[in-house]
């Protein structure tokens, strides 16, 4: 127990160091606005990937409707700040709760499905959320909700990201987390052992959805708008790709996947003709040689390189 807490503290210290370094470089202009934007995008993507990993990686449920929950968060927070004129912090909280609540409502019936069926159901639900928003004139309909102030700062994104990572890490090690892992390994066996499988699946789904909502709120308050076209199933796939690339069931994998894919996308913006090709070839090669993703379901640690200790940000 003591050992675990010391480890947490050292990671926290590292986080503070990274935050100070990055914030310093942004402040002094060593990191220009473009890379600042991409670092913030990375943090948002990490929140999304890690929360999807909770559903897909830890609990073994194949959900591909994450963009839908992100949209809910983006829109509810924007309604709170723009339409109602309330503070941003409240927007973040309400976005998290409302996306989680929707995840709960949707999770109850759909999580009785398995595998492919669940994937199709969640894909459909993500689209339904988007189409509903598209037809609500109060939030701008097809033109999206414009005029959102840029309230998301690097500090907000970074610390929320760290908070989400810690939460999910601790959740995995808790009793409900272990139940989720058991469901992933073998649902029938878990059921036989007396685990209420539906309850824990819905729990994981709700938590994952609520963090996607948080990410959506951060996203809309950084990019000035909430637009239905930003939350198509392509974004769900993007998030899924990050998780699968890093390795289903590995949190450090999801983090690496998010960083890697966001960077690749930013670097390749100079070569739009090649972007999709390089992107797809990378995926194909990876899936051929490492079908389990970069890290499989293991966590990245210095032990992997024979060093002992562990580090991630």
């Amino acid at each position: 127990m003591n050992r675990v807490r010391k480890f947490d503290l050292s990671v926290l210290a590292a986080s503070i160091a990274i935050f100070a370094a990055l914030q310093g470089m942004i402040f002094t202009g060593i990191i220009g606005p473009f890379w600042e934007l991409n670092i913030i995008l990375i943090c948002i993507n990490i929140i999304l990937a890690v929360s999807l990993n909770l559903i897909n990686g830890y609990t073994g449920q194949f959900s591909i409707g994450h963009a839908g929950f992100m949209a809910v968060g983006a829109y509810t927070s924007a309604v709170i700040t723009v339409k109602l004129g309330l503070p941003y912090e409240l927007g973040l909280v309400v976005a998290t709760i409302s996306a989680g609540f929707l995840g709960f409502l949707i999770g109850l019936p759909t999580l009785r499905l398995n595998g492919d069926y669940l994937a199709i159901a969640t894909l459909g639900l993500g689209e339904i959320i988007r189409i509903c928003i598209l037809n609500i004139d109060y939030v701008g309909g097809a033109s999206g909700l414009m005029g959102i102030p840029r309230l998301t700062t690097f500090a907000y994104v970074f610390w929320i990201m760290i908070g989400v990572i810690f939460f999910i890490k601790n959740f995995k090690n808790s009793a409900p987390g272990r139940c989720c892992l058991a469901i992933r390994e073998n649902e029938i066996a878990a059921d036989t052992m007396g685990i209420n499988t539906t309850k824990y699946k819905v729990l994981a789904f709700t938590l994952g959805a609520s963090f996607a909502g948080t990410a959506g709120a951060l996203f809309s308050h950084y990019f000035f708008l909430a637009h239905p076209a930003s939350f198509t199933f392509m974004r769900s796939f993007d998030i899924l790709t990050m998780v699968v690339l890093g390795g289903l069931g590995s949190m450090t994998g999801s983090i690496t996947g998010a960083i890697l894919l966001t960077f690749i996308s930013a670097f390749l913006s100079d070569f739009p003709e090649w972007r999709m090709i390089i992107y797809s070839v990378t995926m194909i090669i990876l899936m051929l040689y490492r079908p389990q993703g970069l890290f499989g379901n293991k966590e990245l640690s210095l032990k992997m390189f024979g060093l002992g200790g562990k580090g991630n940000g």
């Binding site: 473009f34 598209l134 637009h227 076209a229 913006s269 100079d270 210095l302 580090g311």
Partner: protein, 390 residues
């Protein structure tokens, strides 16, 4: 001791990571004999054909501009950033072009939503952005305070004008009385055109017998079309984009709905005949800003050059991006500077600049004052029908 090592290694990793990032942040200095302009364009995604045409148009315009050069022989160079046909990516691209590539002005994005989203960035940085085809009024005017966005311009006319033009043309010139409207509910552009079409069509004493909606990426329109056929219109107005419009036209003909079908400039794509089929396109026409058959000298040269280089007829995106490039070049010449803010001030004052789509001058809302054309499809070919002045 071991614990200290652990902590140290974590810190080192963090610092290394941060150091790697810092390497990316450095800004490149612009070479003094080259002036860069940006293209925030739809190179991939749902509207990729818009971006690719625009890029071709810009490159041709730069060829002309670079024959003489600007500011006494400096070359103008295009830097393209792909906005993936999506608003938040467009904002990302705009940030890249302005802060990484240090462009003097930006052309794009074509999509209104993307142009509105990225306007926050280029206005904060005081860099001009000219959208070739962003027709939504909010692109140049901030709806919250009704003020013109100082650094946003467009090279096209706005939605209300296009809907009005088509309504008057259909009622007065073609003598249609009963129109059905099919609206792309996912697109503001479509809704805008439909609203102004309906308003003006009714003003002409005609009636709208059906109003149906569809969504982007829909592929089966037969049930909607059958419904429309039942109310027997003599004319269908479909202000959508070519992908769905192509299928709508094809399926309308398949169920025996042979009436005239018309739309707006979203139809303008070489893909339309491929999707709908040449036969089915007979009796369809759309309003646009530009026709390659326009007879001005400048346009003839442009079309010839375009065909030579890209082996295709230029579409409206190419023509307007071409004109936007000329506007920026003129702005640089007039202000005698490569400073974005000074160039922007000069662009606002541009008058009587001849582009391939007609003369260009901006009103106080940064909309150009220009004429519209009606283009008809005959055997799959776009044919210039008539020109309508504002």
């Amino acid at each position: 001791m071991k614990r200290v090592n652990k902590l140290l290694s974590v810190l080192t990793a963090g610092v290394l990571f941060a150091g790697a990032l810092a390497g990316c942040g450095g800004s490149k200095e612009a070479k003094s004999d080259v002036i860069k302009i940006g293209g925030n364009l739809e190179m991939t995604g749902g509207s990729a054909s818009f971006g690719i045409s625009s890029k071709n148009g810009i490159e041709l315009a730069l060829k002309t501009v670079n024959q003489k050069g600007v500011l006494g022989g400096k070359k103008v160079e295009l830097v393209v950033a792909d906005n993936k046909s999506e608003a938040s990516e467009a904002l990302n691209s705009m940030q890249k072009l302005i802060s990484q590539d240090k462009v003097v002005a930006v052309i794009g994005p074509n999509l209104s939503s993307a142009a509105i989203a990225s306007s926050a960035i280029n206005n904060a940085a005081k860099v001009t952005a000219i959208t070739p085809m962003g027709t939504n009024p909010d692109v140049t005017v901030n709806p919250e305070n009704g003020k013109t966005r100082e650094y946003n311009f467009r090279a096209c006319f706005i939605d209300p004008f296009q809907g009005t033009v088509m309504a008057n043309f259909a009622a007065k010139e073609m003598g249609f009385k009963r129109a059905a409207i099919m609206i792309d509910n996912t697109s503001d552009y479509s809704k805008g055109l439909a609203t102004f079409f309906k308003e003006n069509f009714l003003k002409n004493g005609c009636e709208v017998v059906a109003e149906e909606a569809y969504l982007q990426k829909d592929t089966d329109f037969k049930s909607t079309l059958t419904k429309i056929k039942a109310v027997n219109p003599d004319f269908i107005y479909v202000p959508g984009y070519y992908q769905e419009v192509g299928l709508i036209i094809k399926q309308a003909r398949e169920i025996g709905l042979e009436v005239a079908i018309a739309g707006g400039d979203g139809w303008d794509s070489a893909k339309l005949p491929e999707i709908a089929g040449k036969e089915a396109l007979n009796g369809t026409f759309f309003s646009s800003l530009y026709s390659p058959d326009d007879t001005s000298e400048l346009n003839k040269n442009f079309v010839a050059e375009y065909q030579k280089t890209y082996n295709a007829k230029p579409d409206v995106f190419a023509a307007l991006a071409h004109d936007a490039t000329l506007v920026i070049a003129k702005g640089i010449e007039d202000s005698q500077s490569a400073e974005p803010a000074k160039v922007a001030a000069a662009i606002a004052k541009v008058k009587d600049l001849n582009g391939v789509s007609g003369a260009i001058a901006f009103d106080d809302k940064h909309n150009p004052i220009k004429s519209a054309v009606i283009i008809e499809h005959i055997d799959g070919k776009q044919t210039f029908k008539t020109k309508i002045n504002p």
